[in-house]
């Protein structure tokens, strides 16, 4: 057999094998595409989770539980069932989320329940309206929020991670306990303490203990802080408006929580 004939023979065999491989590949192409779509959606949710953590948790809570009186919860049954009817939205919930995140809210739609974080009630996040996020990033956040549906509707119940018992020193320290109260109550959504929180709606509290001494003449720092928490309207710091800070902390905080919180705030010299 000449080389040319050998090559013709081998060529025919190889073409046949290549065709078989391609046909087999083709049969599985549909399944592969479905898997790949799921993979891409999953990656988008992961990206959205990180973006949500970096941009949204200050107001809407670490797990979308919201801050009572200020910002609405997203991981919640009403959000997934009645919210669209309430605002008269005719598109999908995902589009509603995207439009809200992109454009923000000039004024709260439910001022009696959630005042929002001031003016505007929610900033616009899209870079088309001066916000920091791109279109694709907002779409990822929407994917992440939509993924709360099954837990919000209680179809899936997730166990909370048991928080470790604090070490004896931490448990005995009212400042440490107060810091936990501060974080758990969502104070950081509006107030900044350098190195801890970064809210911009309310006054900066990085040096609160020092400032509090001189706010109201004759009033001690401790009394001023206590008054500001239980009755926020009593004194308004210059440059901020009344009525934004919830007035019900005297009811939602236990007396010992309140005193821990004050102890923590007094440590901010």
């Amino acid at each position: 057999m000449s080389r040319s004939n050998l090559e013709i023979l081998l060529g025919v065999i190889l073409v046949s094998i290549t065709t078989v491989i391609l046909v087999v590949y083709g049969f599985n192409e549909q399944d592969r595409m479905v898997l790949e779509s799921e993979n891409q959606q999953a990656r988008e949710i992961e990206v959205g989770a990180t973006l949500f953590e970096n941009n949204c948790t200050g107001c809407h809570g670490l797990k979308g539980e919201g801050i009572p009186g200020l910002c609405p919860p997203l991981n919640n049954k009403e959000f997934f069932t009645t919210r669209m009817k309430e605002v008269g939205w005719s598109g999908s919930l995902e589009d509603y989320i995207i439009s809200t995140v992109a454009g923000g809210r000039v004024a709260s739609t439910r001022p009696d329940q959630y005042v929002g974080q001031g003016n505007p009630a929610m900033p616009s996040w899209s870079d088309q309206y001066g916000g920091p996020l791109r279109e694709d990033q907002i779409a990822s956040i929407a994917q992440f929020i939509m993924n709360w549906e099954s837990t919000a509707l209680e179809e899936v119940v997730l166990e909370e991670l048991a928080t470790p018992t604090p070490s004896p020193e931490e448990a005995a320290d009212p400042v440490a306990r107060g810091q936990q109260v501060y974080l758990d109550s969502g104070c950081g959504g509006c107030h900044t303490i350098q190195g801890l929180t970064s809210g911009t709606v309310g006054p900066n509290q990085t040096n609160l203990a020092t400032n509090a001494q001189t706010r109201i003449p004759g009033m001690s720092a401790e009394d001023y802080i206590r008054q500001s928490i239980v009755d926020p309207s009593a004194y308004i710091v210059e440059g901020f408006t009344d009525g934004i800070m919830p007035k019900n902390y005297s009811e939602t905080l236990q007396p010992d929580q309140l005193s821990d919180l004050i102890a923590f705030l007094l440590s901010l010299k």
């Binding site: 060529g11 491989i21 599985n28 791109r134 993924n147 991670l161």
Partner: protein, 545 residues
């Protein structure tokens, strides 16, 4: 009536009608002759009609009439030039298919790649072939250059062919470079940002050059469109032009060089005559080329499906977030290595430019008329030296020699890189049981007593984490270090994994913390190995049935 039809006559008529048609299409080969060509039989007519097509047919007139027997010896050329053209053709075909779906805008590019991967039948295969083919083109172009250099085939009348070849090498590299940006993911964006910033170091025109390439101070819509147009129009047209010149010189002017031993070696006249025997293009060379094409396609497909992890796709490009590890494509590692040796302008622009000029000038500098190894010791040793330097520079350009990072960042980046797989992603989703795992405190074994079959992958991941932290503590990089791993159920099918390392910073005396939050979804594969795995599985199951 029926009897009056002469069947023999009819057959004759049909035959001659078909034969005529075939002669018109093949520009001169009759149907019998065509059959003989395909079977490798000798010519059926006289004069040999196989020579005629080289003047009557466009496609054959650019092909050689014959090669000398000696120049077709496999160990002389390794068919490297042919394979380079083969891969260029693969790139052209797969590239045009990808172009149907690709959108060259910053907001459209990445989604269109995802669409190609997940909604276009065979789209992912086309993308993998295009990517692997591109790397193969670079490899084969370079190997072709080495072969030409070491066989001394660039000498005398072939010096201009060498010159055009070096231009083609440059075009190939630029084609890959600009194609690299098009997926618009983090990998692409930052590699090309670094690449174009090299242009900035060019003396006098640097700033302008950088601006022309990027279309703006930073790569954006303008830069992407420019890269796209260079990749799909300008550079391919240029390649076609230069390749035509390069190939014409080989096929019509000088042919492929004979191995040096037949020209200047001490071998019998008989063998020299045999080496100069003509091998006609039709049928031998032609069928050999078809065979090589089939072989190339077969190997490329098998490698793509079974041995290639898939073309990478990282997260969408984010100009605000510089990744911890950026990496140039491997064929630019030598340049990265050079940059580590010195100044950006000298090492990044001037020295490479001089080297390229030197490469162009090789046939004009080298006046030694001999071609065999032993008679050109200087050229051969310089060539070997050059290749070694290139390998060494590439090695120095490896990311391992990258920017120093603190131990904590390095550990966490190694375990769970910002992009791609990493040990954490390899742990099956089910084994990530909610809990707090403290390095050196949590038991090393039986980490998840609630799971029936245990969690071996998670345990080995945690052991790796422990090892890395302890190694850093022992090395004194993490003073009083402690490390923790927290896994939380975050949403349905979504877990949050927190890795936190705490240590005392010796300079400031403060306790520092580095932590990374990784969200992991049940369906996310991050690795790109699904298609190949599926191909394996499919092949096995289908063959089994």
């Amino acid at each position: 009536m029926l009897r009056s039809i002469n069947f023999q006559d009819l057959r004759q008529k049909i035959y001659s009608a078909v034969d005529n048609r075939v002669r018109i299409i093949t520009a001169g080969l009759g149907i019998h002759e065509l059959r003989a060509v395909l079977r490798g039989d000798p010519p059926t007519e006289k004069p040999n009609p196989r020579f005629k097509v080289h003047t009557t047919s466009f496609l054959f007139h650019i092909r050689p009439r014959y090669y000398q027997q000696g120049s077709t010896i496999l160990s002389h050329t390794f068919r490297l030039g042919f394979m380079t053209v083969f891969f260029y053709t693969v790139e052209l075909i797969t590239g045009v298919i990808l172009m149907i779906y690709y959108v060259p805008t910053p907001s459209g590019a990445y989604p269109s790649i995802i669409k190609i991967m997940s909604e276009v039948p065979f789209g992912n295969l086309m993308r993998d072939l295009h990517r692997l083919g591109a790397e193969a083109t670079v490899i084969f172009t370079f190997l072709h250059l080495l072969r030409t250099y070491f066989t001394g085939s660039y000498k005398k009348e072939r010096s201009f062919t060498w010159f055009t070849g070096v231009i083609l090498l440059g075009i190939t590299l630029f084609l890959s470079f600009f194609g690299y940006l098009l997926p618009w993911d983090q990998l692409a964006y930052w590699a090309v940002t670094i690449g174009t910033s090299m242009a900035e170091a060019a003396p006098f025109v640097g700033t302008q050059l950088n601006l022309v390439l990027r279309g703006a101070p930073d790569i954006g819509a303008g830069g992407l469109l420019r890269a796209y147009l260079l990749h799909v129009i300008l550079l391919p047209l240029l390649a076609l032009l230069v390749l035509s010149i390069h190939y014409y010189k080989v096929s019509r002017e000088h042919g492929i060089s004979l191995p040096a031993r037949f020209e200047e070696g001490d071998i019998p006249e008989e063998k020299k005559r045999e080496a100069k025997r003509r091998i006609d293009f039709l049928p031998d060379l032609f069928s050999h080329e078809i065979y090589l094409t089939i072989l190339g396609l077969f190997i490329l497909l098998v490698v793509t499906l079974f041995f290639y992890g898939g073309a990478p796709l990282e997260h969408i490009a984010n100009p605000q977030q510089t990744p911890l590890d950026t990496e140039a494509p491997w064929y630019f590692w030598w340049l990265q290595g050079m940059l580590k040796l010195g100044d950006k302008t000298i090492m990044g622009i001037i020295v490479p430019t001089l080297l390229v000029i030197l490469l162009f000038a090789v046939p004009y500098i080298d006046r030694n008329p001999y071609r065999s190894f032993v008679k050109r010791p200087v050229a051969v040793s310089l060539g070997v030296f050059g290749v070694l330097v290139l390998i060494l520079l590439s090695y120095m350009g490896l990311p391992i020699y990258g920017i120093e990072q603190t131990a904590s960042t390095r550990i966490i980046q190694d375990l769970s890189p910002e992009e791609g797989e990493g040990p954490l992603r390899e742990v099956p989703y089910e084994q990530l049981q909610q809990g707090i795992y403290i390095v050196n405190e949590s038991p090393a074994e039986n980490l998840c007593p609630e799971m029936d079959y245990g969690c071996p992958e998670f345990e080995s991941f945690f052991a790796l984490y422990t090892d890395k932290v302890n190694l850093a503590i022992d090395a004194g990089d993490l003073v009083n270090g402690d490390a923790v791993l927290v896994i939380e159920d975050w949403q349905a099918d979504l877990k949050k994994v927190t890795m936190r390392i705490r240590w005392d910073d010796e300079e400031s005396g403060e306790t520092k913390t580095y932590e990374r939050h990784v969200y992991m979804h049940r369906n996310s594969q991050v690795g790109y190995e699904i298609p190949s795995n599926m191909a394996w599985r499919a092949l096995i199951t289908n063959v089994a049935f």
